[in-house]
Symmetry: C2
Subunit: 372 residues, 2 copies
């Protein structure tokens, strides 16, 4: 992190904007389906409903707003993946407000604005002197928590003197804060240079509402992302553990198995996965050589019935072509995701260690004989 810059110096995080159609195809949550559903519903209901059609002709703008804001609501809540939400929010904002350029900036852990999504603005443009006015507006909105709107930046005395307004012929700027529980988390910025697309003051009404929906959606995506990070971290801790780890549920099915355990038991991950596809789940004991199944079942049952740790510090695992000495610990675990109880089996391959110990004992014996 670069700690030297302030709010006034936005940095570039995530460049450009992916065209919305492409993005939707990639979206695992299927926002395209949701929107298609909505379109169908709107058409269907409007046709069947004379009152809505009448309202439409009396006040076309208002009904369009309702439809647009609903579509926006569905779109921005259609994913919990933060980067997807940012892209959808950016593209929808530009479409919704008929803007030429747009930016979404979020405050980072050092309370500095970072650009997280941009539309029709490249990194170079944002570094230019011309962009200084826009940067000062985003900073103002982030620090005050109040929207900035100017229907004609040229005639607005606050901005008219600044170079970029004159040079870029900026006519219209809207920037609204994104707030979660009253605290600013970032801003959305839109601008238009064309006079024909000048923002109306009523656009700010919709854009502020849009900003509130966006804040909500981004907050949800952040909650999801942070839980996902913690989940992936725990998965990694289990996977990387120096012990073979297997968790089985009360019916004997494997709910977790790490690489260490796959190696010790010479299980083939692909076989287990193939079994998963067919039978949905693989039974641990069934994967073992038949001659060992009864003993493993007995050890597992011991831990389950006693609800205490079962351990065997020297288990001879012999599959016919493979001989290993294992140290086994089996502990009960309650409330698995399916609601039932189960056990964790932790195994260590101690074949080499046992071999070493034999040599130690042999040498002790020889020393003892020599002492006579």
């Amino acid at each position: 992190m670069d700690h030297t810059k302030s709010h006034r110096s936005p940095k570039f995080g995530n460049s450009g904007s992916i065209p919305i159609d492409k993005k939707y195809q990639e979206d695992p949550e299927g926002s395209i389906d949701v929107l298609a559903d909505l379109e169908a519903t709107l058409d269907e209901v409007a046709k069947a409903n004379p009152r809505i059609e009448n309202e439409d002709s009396q006040s076309p703008r208002n009904n369009t707003d309702l439809k647009s804001i609903l579509e926006a609501s569905l779109a921005i809540n259609s994913s919990l993946v933060l980067d997807d939400v940012l892209q959808i929010v950016m593209t929808r904002a530009v479409e919704f407000m008929q803007a030429e350029r747009g930016l979404i900036m979020l405050l980072d852990e050092n309370e500095e604005l970072q650009i997280r999504s941009a539309y029709n603005l490249c990194k170079e443009e944002m570094m230019e002197e011309n962009f200084r006015i826009s940067s000062s507006i985003t900073s103002e909105v982030a620090s005050t928590g109040k929207s900035v709107y100017t229907s004609d930046a040229l005639s607005d005395e606050r901005f008219a003197q600044q170079r970029s307004v004159v040079e870029l012929h900026l006519r219209s700027i809207m920037c609204v804060p994104l707030k979660v529980k009253g605290k600013v988390i970032g801003v959305i910025y839109l601008d238009n240079s064309s006079e024909t697309r000048m923002f109306l003051k009523s656009d700010l009404f919709l854009f502020e509402l849009y900003g509130q929906m966006v804040s909500n959606a981004l907050h949800n995506a952040e909650l999801y992302q942070s839980l996902l990070n913690m989940h992936q971290y725990n998965e990694k801790v289990i996977e990387t553990s120096p012990f073979g780890t297997i968790v089985i549920d009360s019916e004997g099915y494997i709910t977790t198995i790490n690489s260490g355990a796959l190696e010790i038991f010479d299980f083939n991950k692909d076989n287990l996965n193939r079994l998963n596809e067919e039978e949905r789940r693989s039974c641990f004991v069934d994967q073992l050589i038949e001659s060992e199944q009864a003993q493993w079942q007995h050890m597992i049952n011991s831990a389950i019935t006693s609800q205490e740790e079962f351990s065997d510090s020297r288990y001879f695992h012999n599959t016919g072509y493979l001989e290993k000495v294992l140290s086994i610990k089996i502990v009960p675990i309650s409330n698995l995701p399916n609601g039932g109880d189960g056990v964790i089996i932790a195994v260590e391959d101690i074949t080499e260690k046992v071999l070493m110990e034999k040599y130690v004992i042999l040498s002790e014996k020889l020393v003892a004989k020599g002492e006579m």
Copy 2:
């Protein structure tokens, strides 16, 4: 699960409806703040904006719809906790549509409708003969995926003959499907017996849109819940592991420590937590007795620099008042949540095992002497 019932026999899951004010107080995501923000924005912008006020007077209903549906959107997306979302959705639906009673039913894993939230309907009422018509409507909507709307159930030939319509004087019923990616996941049902509160056909337009927003929000809440379950499961696997497990990051701070490790090192969880509050994080090596710190740091560094497992199968841990023999394995782990790398330390207290081995060796020695 009861597999004997069909769609036509709804079962009761979650009774009654918590008053919305109480619910909001309990909501950890602070939806009350979001709604208060929205109200403030709406009032502020409407006052400052003559065009919106004009539109208001021309078409009061439509602008009220816009405001209501936006409030609903914010409310139902204000939490990712499934039960909270269900309660908010129920209460908002009843308020929004001015209904007397309401139900949210979701399909369970056996494709049976289960009542997940109810408003002004108790378990007994739903068991009564009178409720049979409502049950058949919810089943119809769930199986066809099409809304059912009847502005006057008494004059609707489909329902007029059925007893409950006559006896309950049901006038108005609306039931819309909840769909995710085109697949029905449940239904929302509302009814009114009073003629003055009869649903208009245009209400169905809004209610269907509401249904789509709800589907989205419930889907997000379900994704979050299922990730949370998996996360809690992994936490439990790590906590329950028969080995002491500590994860430390590249700066030496503890990111995970389970009960096994706390016991082996005689660490006090409260002390670690207290440290966490003050310094945010606890450094593992600093928690150890000073005389052992250098050796632990050396072992940890070995694993980090070699990026391979470091192990000591017989480490003598002596804190002055405590003597233990530990088996230690240290493995590198990459990409911790803070972005850096670290190590997993797995420890086992083998004090008793070592004592047993000493006896074995002693007896082997005696046997050897006897053999002479």
